[in-house]
């Protein structure tokens, strides 16, 4: 019996002719304690999929069940780490986590709550910064707070929505290691959404590609049978790694080419040259009329069918 199950889930935006179906017929089963990565292009609908699992949005058709219960609304059961951290800027690191703990464990004494908060602050190595506000933290530190807040909710399932995509490569590598360590310690069920195939292979038990949108759907799963702990350096030379990567990337690129026609059309642009902003402007105005260059340009646009 799957822990988290999605069956025939569709989701679109708009109505009538303007309706765009973002996700089409999503079927997914995730088992307890598993680390699953969903990999897809930017704009494919990954975040929509995550919102559906989190319960922030409802599917148009199909159903989502966690432990056999249908998901209708958001809940701390399904803690989500947002791409843009979503920390409350007027609260300290501790305050942000405390808000979650207060809500999930209302019957605890304040000492219990404090210890709980401290434990998770320590887990993401932020004890030295616990009284700081988010604006005083770097991107990587903010995302750690966000992870600590999610874990402190003691969720049944942890949803990571492109948690590392806004970070620089070095910080990202550090946090990937940290996420793996935390997962190994807590043995939570984790769904990671990412656009980085390597990240998926490094962290997940299974990788499921999400085809390019619109009407994105899940592709065939790829099982990552590389033993843990996985070493980033060694991985690069591992033939299995190359194989996996080829499989996932191949599917994604294919899905991107398929179902897409392009046509080009001549566009007549206004006869105006853009101003060169690198040139200093004089304070009193300078050139009044726009620069012109009589020329017809060709530009191609792509129309997805």
């Amino acid at each position: 019996m799957a822990y988290l199950q999605l069956n025939g889930v569709c989701k679109g935006y708009g109505s009538g002719h303007n309706r765009v179906e973002v996700l089409h017929d999503i079927n997914l089963s995730i088992y307890e304690g598993e680390f699953v990565a969903i990999v897809g292009f930017s704009g494919a609908g990954k975040t929509t999929l995550m919102s559906l699992i989190a319960g922030l949005q409802a599917p148009d058709s199909g159903w989502i069940k966690l432990r056999g219960e249908a998901i209708r609304e958001p809940s701390p059961d399904r803690a989500i780490v947002f791409q843009n951290y979503s920390l409350l800027p007027w609260m300290t690191v501790e305050g942000n986590i405390r808000l979650a703990v207060d809500q999930v464990h209302p019957d605890w004494t304040s000492i219990q709550k404090r210890d709980h908060v401290e434990r998770f602050v320590a887990m993401v190595n932020l004890t030295h910064a616990r009284h700081k506000r988010p604006r005083e933290l770097s991107g990587g530190m903010r995302q750690r707070v966000s992870v600590a807040r999610a874990l402190a909710m003691d969720p049944r399932i942890l949803l990571l929505d492109e948690p590392l995509s806004a970070l620089d490569a070095l910080t990202r590598a550090t946090l990937q290691d940290e996420i793996e360590r935390i997962w190994a310690e807590s043995r939570k069920t984790v769904v990671l959404i990412t656009n980085d195939v390597d990240e998926g292979i490094l962290l997940a038990d299974r990788i499921i590609p999400l085809s390019a949108g619109p009407r994105a759907t899940l592709g065939p799963e790829v099982r990552v049978d590389i033993e843990r702990p996985r070493d980033r350096k060694a991985l690069n030379h591992d033939p299995r790694f190359k194989q996996l990567r080829k499989a996932v990337t191949g599917y994604l690129l294919d899905s991107n080419r398929r179902g897409r026609t392009s046509l080009s059309r001549k566009l007549v642009l206004p006869d105006v040259e853009p101003e060169d902003l690198n040139k200093p402007r004089s304070a009193m105005g300078g050139r009044k009329s726009a620069l012109r260059k009589s020329e017809i340009r060709e530009e191609s646009i792509e129309v997805r069918s």
Partner: protein, 338 residues
Amino acid sequence: MTALIQTCEHFGLEWFIPFLRLIKGDEPNEQWRQIFSDIGVPILSFLLFLAAWSWTADHVKVSFGSVPGPGAVWKQAGALWQEYKDDRAARAAFETKQAQRMREFLAAHPGEKWRVRKYSGPPTYVDQIFTSLETVFAGFLIASIIAVPLGILCGLSRIVNNAMSPFIQLFKPVSPLAWLPIVMIMVSALYNPPDPMFEKSFISSAFTVALCSLWPALINTSLGVSQVDNDYLNVARVLRLGWRKKVFHIVIPSALPLIFTGLRLSLAVGWMVLIAAEMLAQNPGLGKFVWDMFQNGSSDTLAQIMVAVFTIGIIGFLLDRVMMVLQRAVSYDKEGVR
């Protein structure tokens, strides 16, 4: 020293920082340049203004003599201050005399009651300033108590917002001069206690101020609340925060900078409206002072009114500064407040 610089920044005294840096010895040339541009230029422009004013004053004749120049206005300011000091002295003399009389009376007629007499001198200019400040704060308080909660409701609920919208559109542009007669009639009808704590004119002025200064706070609060970042609301949804917790932990802190912007604008509007309200309601503040001076038409009149104009301007400026400091104190985005 660095702490002192930060304090200056916090209280909006940026102009003072170059002096501190100069004492500290940070790049003296840069500091002098900054002092000239931040302080020198405003002083120069003000001097220019004074010169233009003096010149105009000498060349324009009005019905009761000439227009007072800066010197005459400054002299009147001094005269008003002297009047205040004299009044204080007279009041003190009156009090000592009364205390002495009371002792003599009680010694002569033990057991009888002494009737305390109040000092009956007219209010001085300084007293009038304080009356004005009390009135504007009373009005501002009423306005805030109504506007902020109502604004929060408007921002949270589309329905409330739509329900309030016609009133906001309709009453926002109404001048205080139009409200005042209505308020005065209502106050006369409804406020008739046997032993009134407040003057009717005070209440009328305060309510007029409230009616006019309500709107900026209301609009900004509702804007701030409706613009709360969706991410924060998603956090609230995932945590399943209750309504009260959502409002107090997420919505209000997030909207606080805009709420305070609204309150700051409200206080500014209130102060502006107050003068007109006091003029008509005869509340003994700066507005009444200006009106009385206008009515009595002596040769000093115009100079005294100009003193009042400068007082009103300076106090308005100070009120704005106070609100700005408060706004910074409560905002999580300190740099955003100017």
